[in-house]
Assembly symmetry: C2
Homo-oligomer: 397 residues x 2
């Protein structure tokens, strides 16, 4: 029988995709240069130039049977060793290959982390605003996703609401810093407080509670912003990483799970990831791509453009009367809509001013909207006039 | 809480991996050239020479943002179109891109097919001997795998046992032809009979029953062997393909799901695969690898060596008194052990004669053993003396 679960999901439209599709339609009518498409979180700067050379060198210097052959279920050992070495050097924690599992991007990494440490019937807590895909990611495992309402003044954690939601069924806390959609980076104070609360909760409930830390934007942090490494604050931290944003590599589906070496079950969790792969048909990212990223550790695309765009938009939109918590990284910001219904606001912005914004409802934060400013800076500048008209329409100026 | 399901799986050793590990240990002691390792199904011929050129050409001629960017959830459209065109031309069925979903090898393809058309509590029937990974693949979905005992005279389908097992909970039949571990190719007569029985069963039970056809060995068929295309016989066929064996590409994790265009829900199933991906964190094979295989349709590694090896082993082992159903393809054969306990037999073969064979128990066929002859022909020839001593030990000659 066709699975009712997945058939039902066919009807659940992604509002991000819907806005993007509308933008595309308008672009076909009036020219794409006239549409200010802030809908998708797709890198706008190319992969580092040396990527092609790295791939060619691997092809030229490898024996093809070994290169294209099966890798170990955990990922290629030399790749895991290099990544562990990089993490150790960068964060000062004693990672070895035993703590690293290669995954198909952050989605793959999260799929493994959830299945390893959360059982059906247990709960995962996350904090609004949050990446809407977390819902299908979690709910297809049989666990429940509990969302803590946002602290809209700072987009740090709303601890009061969080402590009320914590209970004996809480198996993991899912965080995403730097954050999609707010662009906010959790401060040292926030992470420390989260860790302290969880340590007490572990004692109170008598079982481990994990932080699953989704970190694809780790390298996109703006000047002067404090961006602490979550794993340094809490032993039971599972870091889920993707090279999609840092290397502008989203189509190559490559990332990893790295369990804090201080976690007592770290190695077991990594071995369990291999078993999870057998069940979900994942079985490692492509060998060539694994070997490629291992030669590019510490390299990034030219990410500075995102900060340039952020500064222009923050300054101009603030001047126009929008209320925005200033982003500390990523390529997102999350202003307050000038009316209660952000959907209506985003529709107006699109239909009247060709501004493609995404309403915050599906991010767990109605009344706000997301701007994905991974677009050319020239276009960001040109869009300000459109924002100005929009601000005027809503009486902000 | 650490998932008891996946934690328990840590203890389930793969007998194939165990034999391979033993072989490795002996190889370290006596030299790998002296160990006849017939344990793993890992291609022994390299990928076609032009693969590297194809990849380099893609790198040189693509705009990096597009090349490494997100592909559609279904896979890259141009890739799906090319594969559909190839299938249409090869099998004469009207495939379009709407019938093709790109997956991470056969394991990924099967993971999607199972979740699309089988619900928890329903049953999937397969036929012994079968690939042991089918068990974790199926059981982690919440469905049950029912195994039909082998017809050991031919390794075609034991229809009498099959018809007894068919019931209203049967959602899919999982077949693998050419077959791992028997090397047997199902005949036209077998496929036709299977299709006829299923058509009647669909009417009787009032619901669709799918054939999920696992076809990674489709191109490895020996001279003169009839290897019918399953989809031509039965509308509700979901073909799961991998380039692992045909292109010696197992580490690149690339394959597809192709639903028979005659299946009334074909397009829905392909769309459902995208939703399944969201849940299991799969989200497409690597873009570069997708584009690569699309330029290599119809190409294969030099697969003839497998037939050469098959002929040598079949002739010599038959001469030595082993009872073998002659393989029609793949790089496996599945002889009868000369004693009831194939585990004991395989241990003796290893310990006394450095022959690494895999007992048939985990393939659902006790008393038989698998030979994976994806090894150098020179070594196959040298192994015959060892088989001769083994045959003598068990009184076959």
């Amino acid at each position: 029988m066709l699975s009712p679960k997945y058939k039902e999901m066919l009807g659940m439209k992604s509002v991000i995709r819907e806005m993007s599709a509308k933008a595309h339609k308008i672009g076909e009518e009036i020219g794409f240069e006239n549409v200010f498409d802030y809908s998708l979180g797709n890198p706008s700067v190319p992969a580092p130039e040396k990527v092609n050379d790295v791939i060619k060198k691997i092809l030229d210097n490898s024996e093809p049977l070994a290169l294209h052959g099966y890798s170990e279920g955990h990922g290629i050992l030399s790749v895991r060793e290099k990544i562990a070495g990089y993490l150790k050097e960068t964060y000062g924690l004693p990672y070895t290959y035993n703590h690293v599992f290669m995954a198909s991007g952050a989605a793959g990494a999260l799929a493994h982390a959830f299945r390893a440490v959360v059982c059906p019937g247990e709960e995962i807590i996350t904090f609004a605003p949050f990446f809407p895909e977390y819902r299908p990611y979690v709910e297809t495992t049989g666990a429940a996703l509990k969302v803590i309402p946002a602290d809209t003044t700072s987009f740090q954690i709303n601890f009061e609401a969080f402590e009320k939601e914590l209970n004996e069924k809480t198996a993991a806390i899912l965080i995403n810093t730097p954050n999609n959609p707010s662009g906010i980076v959790y401060s040292t104070e926030t992470i420390q407080k989260l860790a302290d609360i969880l340590k007490k909760a572990q004692e109170k409930y008598g079982h481990d509670i994990y932080i699953i830390s989704d970190e694809p934007y780790r390298e996109i942090v703006f000047d002067g912003v404090d961006a602490p490494c979550v794993s340094k604050f809490y032993d039971n931290t599972i870091m889920c990483y993707s090279y999609s944003k840092s290397l502008s590599f989203p189509g190559e589906r490559i990332g990893y799970v790295a369990v804090n070496p201080a976690c007592k079950d770290a190695e077991t969790i990594i071995h369990m990831c291999v078993q999870i792969s057998r069940g979900i048909g994942h079985n490692c990212p492509a060998s060539l791509i694994q070997l490629t990223v291992a030669e590019l550790l510490g390299e990034t695309s030219d990410l500075k453009v995102y900060e340039t765009n952020a500064n222009i938009l923050y300054e101009e939109l603030t001047r126009l009367g929008f209320s925005i918590v200033k982003p500390g990284g990523t390529f997102y910001m999350f202003p307050k809509a000038p009316i209660e219904d952000a959907n209506e606001f985003c529709n107006t912005a699109l239909e009247k001013y060709n501004l493609v914004l995404v309403p915050g409802d599906s991010f767990g934060c109605p009344g706000f909207f997301r701007i994905s400013y991974c677009v050319e800076t020239e276009k960001v500048k040109r869009s300000i006039a459109a924002f100005e008209k929009l601000a005027a329409e809503y009486g902000l100026i």
